[in-house]
């Protein structure tokens, strides 16, 4: 199969039907026809301990990386796609858009990026990503990475060991997926707190810049340029801290508070 990110693509081959099926579902919104020249080819082979992933011409019994489960395979393929566009600043973040402007949702595992992004999509927002977002620093725009969102079941607690078991795929229609990079208008840092009402408050720029640094996935590639960009970004766009316990309520709070700001950006 061929998975595309903007004009780049990788070709994935596998001898494991469950991997093929899982990746086809995970990247269903990013599948492409055979590219003229893929950025690289990936082979995923079933082994006794899991799956071995090899890039391009790697060969030999110990070549490549051993991945224990399908969740790791998905993540590794996503990272390889990310590596086809190293000029972007990649953030561990979700992102959605409305009215031609994007809301960035940076946060660590378990903060609820996917649940909030999909809740917003359910009320008409466009989906860019639920886990990693590439930022075009020159254009100040979020690049769509529409991997199929994985949403935590509302009744499930956080158990890293059972990651696959407690998350389900959220089906998105092609119409609810954003196809073009969108200018960044707002950043919201979600924080899940049991029993907390949805509460959106302005965040100071210093704390916001630190959170953005912590969510950078390829910071080393950009160094000072990324620092300057983040400093400029938090000066330029409003940044919020969101505490919540129920994602639809958090989405409603975002919609109510931020929609007027998005109109200002796109207008």
């Amino acid at each position: 199969m061929h998975i595309k990110l903007l004009r780049n693509a990788i070709t994935v081959r596998t001898d494991a039907s469950e991997v093929a099926e899982w990746l086809a579902r995970s990247f269903s919104l990013m599948l492409a026809q055979q590219p003229r020249r893929p950025s690289f080819e990936v082979q995923i082979l079933r082994s006794t301990d899991g799956y071995r992933i090899l890039r391009d011409c790697e060969a030999g019994p110990s070549a490549g990386r051993l991945l224990p489960n399908l969740a790791e395979v998905r993540r590794e393929v996503a990272i390889m796609l990310m590596e086809t566009r190293p000029e972007l600043l990649w953030l561990h973040a979700g992102a959605v858009a409305k009215g031609g402007a994007a809301v960035l949702l940076p946060g660590p595992w378990g903060s609820g990026k996917s649940s909030i992004a999909t809740s917003l999509c359910a009320s008409g927002w466009l989906y860019l990503s639920d886990d990693m977002v590439g930022i075009d620093m020159e254009k100040n725009a979020a690049v769509p990475f529409p991997i199929t969102p994985l949403v935590r079941e509302p009744t499930c607690a956080l158990h890293a060991d059972h990651w696959m078991a407690i998350k389900r795929e959220f089906r998105l229609s092609k119409r609810s997926v954003c196809k073009k990079p969108q200018p960044l208008a707002v950043a919201v840092f979600p924080e899940y707190k049991p029993n907390a009402p949805a509460n959106l408050n302005r965040c100071d720029t210093l704390a916001a810049s630190m959170k953005l640094f912590e969510s950078c996935m390829n910071f080393r590639q950009h160094g000072e340029r990324a620092v300057a960009y983040i400093a400029e970004l938090v000066r330029k766009i409003p940044v919020y801290q969101l505490t919540y316990s129920f994602a639809p309520a958090a989405a409603a709070e975002i919609e109510h508070t931020l929609e007027p700001l998005l109109g200002e950006v796109s207008g």
Partner: protein
């Protein structure tokens, strides 16, 4: 992931103005060093390789050698601004006391701790001896 550290110090940030009054030359060196810490006569200087970006509520500092970013709150930023190789720690405490509503003696431990931290993180160095 990027590595970020928040640095703050407790010099009543709400009362600290960025443009403080003229700095007297120095305070008495009789104030003892904290154990293992920097002394009042220590002259810290910002490393030339370190980059800084001003934010509304502090400074964002980046050390390209360690690839680490640091956030300095208003108090720590005020100390940082005076780490110019000309001011001793005692001078910094004296200068900041004029807008912090505390005596230089009260401020000195906070300033010394802040400078010590900046030193450990490789953001400042001791000014070269003449």
């Amino acid at each position: 992931m990027g590595r970020a550290v928040f640095l703050g110090c407790t010099i009543r940030p709400e009362t600290l103005a960025k443009e403080s009054a003229n700095a007297p030359n120095s305070m008495s060196d009789s104030i003892p060093d904290e154990a293992g810490g920097v002394g009042p006569s220590f002259k810290p200087r910002r490393r030339s390789t370190v980059r800084q970006h001003e934010l509304p509520d502090g400074l964002l500092i980046f050390n390209p050698q360690s690839l680490k970013a640091f956030a300095l709150n208003a108090s720590a930023s005020a100390v940082w601004d005076l780490c110019d190789g000309n001011h001793t720690i005692a001078d910094i405490a004296l200068e900041l006391s004029q807008c912090a509503g505390r005596t230089p003696e009260e401020l000195l431990p906070d300033v010394a701790t802040a400078v010590q931290k900046l030193l450990e993180l490789g953001l400042v160095e001791q000014d070269a001896l003449p």
